[in-house]
Structure formats: C-alpha cells, structure tokens
Amino acid sequence: MNDDSPLTALATYFGLLSLVAIGGAVTAIPDMHRYAVETMHWMNDRQFTDSFAIAQLSPGPNVMIVALIGYHVAGLTGAAVATVAMCGPTCIVAYFAAHTWNRFKAARWRVALQAALVPVSLGLIGASAYILARAADKTIAAGVITVATVVVAVFTRISPLWLFAVAGLLGMTGWL
C-alpha cells in the first residue's frame, strides 16, 4: 500500500479522529465534513448529508456514517478500514481505562476532567448541528422541516423515527 492510497488516508484520518472525538461520533461530524467534502473532495454536500441521514435511519451506533464514507471512497475494504480505524484506538484505551477508572472516583483530576470535557463536547455537537443544517437546508421547506423537528424533539417524547417518516414523505411528494 503506497502513501497515496485512499485506504491509507482513511486509516490515518479516522484513527486520529477517533482520539479527539470527545463526546462521541457526532462531535466529529464537522471535521469529517471538512476533510471528506472540502479537503479530499471524496463526496459532495448532498452525499454527505445523505450518508448522515442513512446512518441515523439504520439501527446501531451512529458511528456507522464512518462506514458509509469509507464505502464511498474505497468500497467494502474502505468501509472496513474506516470503521476499524474509528473504533480500534479508542477500544484499546477503553479496555485499559475500564480497570483503573473507578479507582479514582473522587480524585480531583478526574472531577476536573469530567467538568472540562462537557462544555467542549457541547460546543462540538453544536458545530455538528450547524454544519448538518447548513448542508441539508438548501430550500425554505427543508428549513421548516428542521425547525419543526427541533420543536417536536425539545417539547415532546415522540420517537425520531416518526419525524423521519413524515420528513421523508414530504420529501418524496415533492415539497422540498
């Protein structure tokens, strides 16, 4: 495998990303968009938001968007490489942390660390929201769907799948 191979790029990029994705896969969305759409031109805006929509629609962890990007770039191997790179390093960290974490429950550094990372991941999730909305809301009607989803999700406990069904139906019947 030479250094220009897309597989090398996928492995290196997602391997590093997994170690800074504080707060979960969704906090890494803006950076994935920056890298896959703007830097590498692997996919366009629409393919990126489609991938996110598919990952949200599919069962399982929403880190699956990584497999979709990998597949888009380099087929089945790409999907496998991207997923392993995104999960591998943090799994190893998690495995070793599992044994030591609870020993330091009351330690001041642990309390400070937890308090420090909450606002960082909040800012990143906000950034994801911004990037996704800007890419998805190309029309006023799409913007209305986004706002309506926000209102329903904040004020009710209706399952997101119903919102997706309605939004998909509106899209299908040509409202967007």
Binding site: S18, V20, I22, G24, P30, D31, Q47, T49, D50, I54, S58, P59, P61, V63, A67, Y71, H72, A79, T83, P89, T90, C91, V93, A94, Y95, A98, H99, W101, W109, V111, A112, L113, Q114, A115, A116, L117, V118, P119, V120, L122, G123, G126, A129, Y130, L132, A133, A136, D137, I145, T146, T149, V150, A153, V154, P160, A167, G171, M172, G174, L176
Partner: protein, 193 residues
C-alpha cells in the same frame, strides 16, 4: 433512582454467548443511538448492573474519545470477562449494523441518483439536522444558565470548528487542556454537581 425494576446489586453475570446476543439485540434495536437501549437491557431487563454502576461506566464511556456506545461495550465486556468479554461485546454491537449499513451503502451507490430516493433522503437529512440541534439545546440548558467558563469554552469550540472550520485535532489539543485548567482552578464554574 429507586425504580423497582432496577436491582439493588447486580444479580447475575452473563456468559460470553449471552453477552454477544445481548449486544446484538442492543445494536439492532438502537435506532438513533444505541446507549438508551444498552441501559434498558443491562440494568432493567437482565440486571447485570445496578443503575449506579451503569452511570459510572457510562460516564467513563462519554469521557473517553470515540464513539460512546462502542466504548461502553468494551468497558462493560471487560468488566464481565476481560479481553474476551470486551471483544465479544464489541463484535455483537458492531457486527449486525455493519452488515446492514454495508448493504445500504451498496444500494445507495447504485440507486443514490434516483430522483425519488434523493428527495426522500433530503427530507430525512433536514429532520436529522433538527434532531442534533434539539440535542444541543437540551445539553446547553444547564450550562448556559449562568455566566462562567463552561459557556465560554462551548462557544469557542463552536466558533472555531463550525464557523472558522479549523481542524478538530489542534482545536482539541488547545481547548481540552485549557478547559481542564479552568475546571481545576474554578470548580464552581462547573455545573456538574
């Protein structure tokens, strides 16, 4: 906290087979994030963990970088049966969704340009973006009720990553230590209990 359905102490330890099947179950029911389903299975149904134990492992999984529920599967599996447990839980969680998503990816590559599919997905994408906005708002509420460093850190993270489009790596390399120093010096600026 004192839900009757939840055990006072963990009642049983699962075998590797049970562990695998359970995480497969979590994976395929977990639409829109698998963690709530993991809690339901482990604490409420199987009673492998108390609510408090779950919260501790959950906090660890959130604080570690990378996908939360993936971290959780490794932490929980390791607690039950060491390296084998971690591997089994991870494979159960990731295997089936990987197969499903791959099938969808193949279909998308072939039919993604179909007018009707692209219209359906653009509707769902708009809605999915709304869900993440809603999640941001819910998380921001406790943090923004008072002026302090946590709100400032969140705003800086947002501006650098969303508006300035800086890469995540340098942003985290600077912001995480800075936030840690602030949390160390001003613990009351934190809303975390």
């Amino acid at each position: 906290m004192t839900d009757l359905a939840e055990p006072e102490r963990a009642v049983a330890r699962p075998s590797l087979g049970e562990l695998f099947i359970s995480f497969v179950h979590v994976a395929i029911s977990g639409f829109g994030g698998a963690l709530p389903w993991a809690r339901r299975m482990i604490v409420e149904r199987k009673r492998w963990m108390t609510a408090e134990e779950f919260n501790e492992d959950f906090a660890l999984s959130q604080f570690l970088p990378g996908p939360n529920v993936v971290n959780f599967s490794v932490v929980f599996g390791a607690r039950i049966a060491g390296a084998a447990g971690a591997a089994v839980a991870f494979l159960g969680l990731m295997g089936p969704p990987m197969v499903i998503v791959t099938i969808i990816a193949v279909l998308y590559a072939r039919y993604g340009d179909l007018e009707i599919l692209s219209r359906i997905l653009s509707g769902i994408a708009a809605s999915a973006a709304g869900l993440i906005i809603a999640m941001t708002l819910k998380m921001a509420k406790p943090l923004f009720t008072k002026v302090g460093w946590p709100a400032a850190i969140a705003i800086v993270a947002f501006i650098t990553v969303a508006l300035l489009r800086w890469p995540l790596l340098p942003v985290i390399a600077v912001l995480a230590p800075l936030a840690f120093a602030l949390a160390w010096v001003f613990p009351t600026g934190s809303v975390k209990r």
